[in-house]
Symmetry: C2
């Protein structure tokens, strides 16, 4: 489950897998300076940005899932909060400013070491395709290209959003887990 | 904001800070093999484990905050879900099995690149101090050593829990942000 690592990022010597004293799982440990290089899951943040009964989706211009539609989302960066990350991704992928709303859905993907966290938000003003998008567009629930969605976590967030009546209000969180490739979300 | 990195973990050559093509922020990039080493926030998971009107806290036997009390919590590991991580930390720090409940609170700490996520849970059976604890004990709201709590995020989770009536039920999430050292949580 560790991601590949050959050399110590502190001193440049080779690393090897060891279970450090007082620990209970393998880590990459430097054979020279003995630095322990912990690896942890990454967070993906996204936003269901709405205007009236429509939500904003992006058609991906990059792999994976080139040409499929996605809720604006991407890796959370150092120095930002979850909601700031979700707003930034919406700006980068759909050139859209939003009033960010509550955290709305969380999906674990333990097989790839990721957690996907979605917010709701209200679209303010214009939108257009960002660098990682071929197109950005608004869809009602019926108009959404359900068979051309890029990711199961985004599908889960959209399904929860519309099941709740398509509201931005709330604070009620929906949680689920994806246990392997090409699997759907199992709701908690 | 990048964490220190001197050498490429792929090939062992020196790295330097660069903004890669198509990116908009500095990354550690290898001067030889050009691998980009992304750094992202880490997730801490914890659990407010309850029995009737009491919650389980641990007195820390390690730094930081040696001797202060904490909600069982620690870094999420690769290969687990958020709730599995919260249950594992409760087992490791308080030797306590729990029935994990809903996600309950989320606190961003952008100044240190962390997100702290708390669950509720019901305590099943015994508990005792784990390796990182001097002591584990149950407290009612009034009994909690509020002036000896280790971390502001755990305090926020406890305050929200008792303000909601000390229930494990829900799905209502409380969110907030800590913007600097020794600061309290600003609720969203």
């Amino acid at each position: 489950m560790l991601r590949p690592m050959n050399y110590c990022s502190d001193c440049g010597a080779p690393v090897e897998q060891q279970i450090p004293a007082g620990d209970n799982r393998p880590r990459w440990v430097c054979t020279a300076c003995h630095a322990i290089h912990y690896q942890n899951p990454k967070v993906v943040v996204g936003c269901i940005a709405a205007r009236a009964d429509r939500v904003l989706l992006c058609k991906r211009s990059i792999e994976p899932r080139y040409g499929c539609w996605t809720v604006p989302a991407g890796f959370m960066e150092l120095g930002e909060s979850l909601s700031e990350g979700a707003a930034r991704e919406t700006l980068e992928e759909a050139c859209a400013q939003i009033d960010i709303g509550p955290m709305f859905a969380s999906v674990d993907l333990p097989h790839i070491g990721q957690v996907h966290i979605f917010f709701t938000g209200r679209l303010c003003g214009d939108y257009s395709a960002g660098e990682e998008s071929l197109e950005a567009a608004l869809f009602t629930e019926r108009e959404i290209p359900w068979d051309e969605l890029a990711f199961a976590s985004g599908r889960f967030a959209l399904e929860c959003y519309f099941r709740d009546g398509g509201r931005c209000a709330g604070g009620q969180i929906h949680t689920g887990c994806i246990r392997g490739p090409r699997q759907a979300v199992q709701a908690d």
